[in-house]
Symmetry: C2
Subunit: 296 residues, 2 copies
Amino acid sequence: MNIGIIGGGSLGLLLSSYLANNHNVTLYVRRISQLENIQANGITLQLEEEPERNFDVNVELVNHLQHHDAFFITVKQPQITDVIEQLRAVNPAGSIIFLQNGMGHIEKISTLQSPVYVGAVEHGASRISDNEVKHLGFGTIKLASFSGEIDDLIQLEKALHDDTFPFEVMHDWEVLLKSKLLINAVINPLTALFNVPNGSIVDNEYITRIAKKLTREAASVLHFSEEEAWENVKRVARNTSENTSSMRADILQNRETEIEAISGYLLGVVDEPERIPYTMFAYESILALQERGKLI
Amino acid sequence: MNIGIIGGGSLGLLLSSYLANNHNVTLYVRRISQLENIQANGITLQLEEEPERNFDVNVELVNHLQHHDAFFITVKQPQITDVIEQLRAVNPAGSIIFLQNGMGHIEKISTLQSPVYVGAVEHGASRISDNEVKHLGFGTIKLASFSGEIDDLIQLEKALHDDTFPFEVMHDWEVLLKSKLLINAVINPLTALFNVPNGSIVDNEYITRIAKKLTREAASVLHFSEEEAWENVKRVARNTSENTSSMRADILQNRETEIEAISGYLLGVVDEPERIPYTMFAYESILALQERGKLI
């Protein structure tokens, strides 16, 4: 397939390198310096226990969008509005797959004419430099249809799937995204607030106490079973125990986080924010850390 | 007067140096290395805009308690039980003045036979080394009687007071300690959690939001006016804006904090802890940071 990947962060680099095995990949980035770096050096994929690999991919600036069979949108929530504007302006042929955390993009993607799919990424990855990415936790990418045909999604999944980089089709996009959102609403703010790896959610008994209450509040807002939700949070925390969550990485590097699309979403849909005080405290804490970061 | 000061932390060193001007001071410390250092070098007091000063004081190990006209107990809450045991064993002549934050010591001090007074310290001080202390914020020490005679306290205050290091008599020990506790329950955990100086309570709008809710909860538990309490919190945060709170210093140096005697006290006296969720989150956060510190 001919695939366009928008966003040169850790996920964009990870997808570009794995998909370059079987597909013709074009990576769209924002900065000329990153474009030149990847044109000159390709993308280097670092793996835990294997030698690193190098991949040649096409690279373009994001304001030169072309047509592709499928697009993956990997930018984070704070950049999503700009990217959707560009997609609307170009209106490219091809399916569009959104891989954001949280629910902040849902209202905006419903304005697109192309068939739209959403996905939840269970890989751990860390960007080492503009053209180097480290694959930290092996997982799958779960896809569901938002406005596309389910049969088209099944074909897409067949074309994308590879045993070394699996894809999976889910039948309810809302359940898919909300399950991921719940996990993110617990693990992300707490690992950022306490500056700890994901495993501390289960290893530090006091963080565990707070995590349980955040899980209870999020499950109540999203109408999930609290027990199942807590099992899922613990499973992800254990499977990615050494990993730095994306929100912790954002705070450490003084970048804007995805807190609005995650905890902010829960606070926006609940009838009274006072019903979910732990979520409110976590939300305000991340805003406080972002504000503190502006002074550095 | 002949004064014994128990505890060689920032407050013990500060009191020793100021009181050495007019009194015969003996400082009691726990470690021989600190005793030897102060015997050899005296105590150095650093001031903001004046040259530093050096004071010779007597220094003894805390398990060699002697009799004094008055004792100041400056150790933190986690050490208070041991000190009270020693005071009970020696039963020294003289008034005993407790200067702890929080309310953790109140039950224990009622077992002492000597006349007991409690105080709230409004100075800012930071221990630079075992024999050096920096006076960061100038304030007063407010004293109230717990089991002593008010007339004796007034005499004591007259003997201690000096315009360069003032003392003041208050008439209700409970109001005195609870007013201080409320301010500590807001400023201490938040400055420790966000690793910020005291001024961030009023300068970072998101920390301000959390601080307001903590103030509301504490005022409700302690039966104080929320508005007055918030004015007091803001005043102290502004007056000590550059200072590192004692709890932040404890977390930065991986020491046990006074959280049990502060937020833990509020959680212990409220009928249902769910009524004060922000206090609970702050309390659990500090325990989480202490736990994280054990791994370093």
